[in-house]
Symmetry: C2
Subunit: 490 residues, 2 copies
């Protein structure tokens, strides 16, 4: 059973609050569209069989299909879009025993040419609104800039052809010690130890605006064009994020690198206390266990980053890769939320039980000798409640026993019972009984009311109960519940 519906609606509400619309791109893409976008993970792409027609694969994420869609629709020069959908990645066949992998991604992107850092600031504001509303506990948005990182590596003397691999080593600093990372750089990647030490002097720094000010005074760095340009962006962004009340959540982290090649500007990753890994873990654990672990957490999705619940950045060149004309080169900034990871954290934080369904009233009947079951009467009461929009259910049995009906209501935590009795019906009365009242409560045995006041009475009691449920915390919010199956367990 899941709380996924609630997570989706929370996220969607925030996206809409910021003027986003949803775009639904197909689950298929031409194979060539996906080729070469995911580095060595391209082997995880699911291909469709060649049954004639064009050669297609299943989408690997939602960003590349969006970029392809934008490139093919050059009349759309600006858009705020969100998309919640499944993406597909196949684990290495030798190890998987055919296990399938599909999971949800939830993306928000702003495309268009605007004055600098404005959409970037709004994306981060949206991120805080979503995380505050999801109530996942403390979280930090780690932020860096591709140009700051590239400039830094250039200044430290990293050879051009080693920048990507050194960058990925540095990215491990959230889980590994500097000694481990330094060893990887100098031994595995044969970087000059002096260069490594120069890098080490910078990438272990993190902080807020004071770090920005510190870097601004380092003429060695600011003389590098890329670095200076990245720092200028970051300063402007911080100004905006102060107005938007996002700064307290931010950590400017020079070790954040993010794997995907297509980022061109700011990059960010959200870590919650719940999702942060134990400190000092070896860099070897940086990548999640893959298919050899049947319980591998699918949210340990490389595009989001291990231990994080959301990630993204600016990608100004990706749309252009699919475009035929200059018009199709729209710059973008976006974020992807790891719904499965958010789900795990929410579930772990939950107190109380999640209801099986949302039924508000269970309509039941009882009687003595010669009891007919009052089936049509139960149906009629349900019809009246349904007409009024009340969620109601009755037992699919001609002559049900009263204890069985109460058990049916209790099983799903239905808050109210409407009980029909032959004598009471003759007088035009039914009984409303709130479930789970303590012994001695004045209404423990229910209240007889006139049939024609039923809907009003139920509504009044539901509203009262709803108001009270607020105090229960997370449980009160979890009204939408779903069953979920992730892999064919065959």
């Amino acid at each position: 059973m899941v709380i996924r519906d609630k997570i989706f609606s929370t996220i969607t509400d925030v996206f809409k609050r910021h003027g986003a619309v949803t775009i639904d791109t197909p689950v298929f893409e031409l194979r060539e569209v996906l080729t070469g976008k995911y580095g060595e993970d391209s082997k995880l792409i699911y291909d469709l069989a060649d049954q004639g027609g064009e050669i297609c694969s299943l989408r690997y994420d939602l960003t590349v299909p969006f970029a392809r869609w934008l490139a093919m629709n050059p009349t759309i020069q600006s858009i705020k879009r969100y998309h919640i959908a499944k993406v597909y990645r196949r684990d290495q066949p030798a190890m998987t025993k055919g296990r399938m992998r599909e999971f949800y991604q939830c993306d928000f992107d702003i495309a268009g040419t605007y004055d600098p850092m404005l959409p970037d600031a709004e994306i981060l504001r949206i991120t805080t609104e979503i995380l505050d509303n999801l109530d996942l506990g403390n979280y930090t948005i780690k932020i860096n800039h591709r140009k700051i990182l590239d400039g830094l590596f250039q200044v430290c003397g990293v050879p051009i052809d080693k920048i990507r691999s050194i960058s990925s080593a540095v990215d491990k600093l959230d889980k590994a010690t500097w000694e481990d990372v330094r060893r990887e750089m100098t031994e595995e990647k044969e970087l000059d130890p002096e260069v490594a030490d120069r890098i080490g002097g910078y990438v272990q720094k993190k902080g807020g605006r004071e770090l920005l000010d510190e870097l601004l005074e380092d003429e060695n760095l600011t003389s590098n064009e890329a670095f200076a340009s990245g720092l200028k962006d970051m300063g402007l962004l911080f100004d905006y994020l102060e107005v938007l009340h996002v700064m307290p959540k931010l950590s400017f982290d020079l070790s954040l690198a993010r794997g995907l090649d297509y980022y061109t500007g700011i990059i960010y990753e959200v870590v919650t206390e719940a999702s942060a890994p134990p400190a000092g873990k070896s860099a070897k654990l940086r990548r999640a266990p893959k298919s050899d672990d049947p319980d591998a957490d699918r949210s340990s999705d490389d595009s989001i980053g291990i231990g994080s619940i959301a990630a993204g950045g600016r990608y100004d060149e990706l749309v252009g890769m699919f475009a035929n004309s200059a018009k199709g080169r729209v710059p973008c900034v976006g974020i992807s939320f790891g719904v499965d990871r958010i789900f795990s954290i929410t579930k772990a934080r939950m107190t109380g039980e999640v209801r099986g369904n949302e039924v508000e009233v269970y309509v039941m009947a009882f009687g003595g000798k010669g009891f007919t079951g009052l089936l049509k009467e139960r149906m009629e009461v349900c019809r009246i409640l349904w007409d009024a929009g009340v969620k109601a259910e009755f037992m699919y049995k001609n002559k049900p026993k009263l204890p069985h009906q109460f058990a049916g209501a209790e099983k799903n935590g239905v808050p109210f019972a409407v009980v029909l009795g032959e004598d009471e019906l003759k007088e035009g009365k039914v009984k409303i009984k709130e479930m789970g009242l303590p012994e001695g409560h004045p209404e423990k045995n229910g209240v007889d009311i006139n049939m024609d006041g039923l809907v009003a009475q139920i509504r009044k009691r539901l509203a009262k109960k709803e108001g009270g449920a607020g105090a229960v915390g997370i449980e009160g919010n979890l009204r939408s519940v779903a069953l979920e199956e992730k892999t064919p367990e065959v």
Copy 2:
């Protein structure tokens, strides 16, 4: 742009009102699970490439995966489930030029062993609630019973091996004349003309309870065991549907056959006036044009039936086909809604425009010589509105011109503008302006209010506007809007 969100939420609300939960089964199924379930349409199944592991295909509908899931989870002996998701069908490759086909289905099923016809009655009640809420105009639920049809064919003297093909000929009576159908039976399918005429005497009948009573008096028919048993079910169902106020929408139609083999009890199909075909069309048009027509309506989905917007029936044996033990043989009844067809009808019925997004307030600024753009002030006002849950937007420009800002608001039909001016801000005031007021309206030029009353004033005005929008009809409901792309247009 679509209204799909609104359709989904209407349908989901009704499902939940009846105690349903959602189950999300994977988009993949083992190929063998799908094989042999869809007759000659099996060629439309999408296969995944053999990249190692087990051989899989994409789901063709939502019913077979649900049945497979139930069979694999024998602890679940009863459930009301809904599922809204995409299914995949490949048109014939020679004709398609590689065109992909994915579309939404929206299914509701009740699984479990209950007293007869109770879940069946509730499914039809749910159907009327959904159609009434969707406001698609007049509609009819055509209903028949597999056993009535089989018994009828037996009594008329159809050879056992011809029953399915004669059944499919009869099913065409909604679009073809009896003469056409008779010709198909006797010429193409070599049925004895006398047998065909006997069938013709029955299958052109349709009506309500009076037809049931008429058939009950036909001893020729009622002496057939299957027929009598089907008729008994139908009588009980009608009793329940009277209580549930569904009867006025029902047409007991002896020509309704439904293609899929797995139905074992009642079968039904919903036709709206908007979706009904022109009368007297040739039987040759019974199947929709397939892939040779690039604009082929994808909702002309065989599992729903051409011209209908929803269809389903009872399938008591399907789950058992996947079960290892007797416990896994759960009887089911369900319905599938054709979202794409419903969407087309909704769109055609719409008056007024659909908004591009849901933004409620556009925050803008103006000034004279030396105007700074008031960017941070606009951001701050947005932040205050977002904090209050108001949907708000500002222009991503340092110094935007006022006409451009108004155009931005107008483009998406944003109902209110908040206009900042340097002098007003100094006095702690902002202007609220309702968009689109007629000349001469006392508030045409906006109202200055105190900044600290902004949220309250906006909420008051939005509530008033919302209340008024009710009268606009369908437009007032269409607050959720999406862009949709159905096929890769490459």
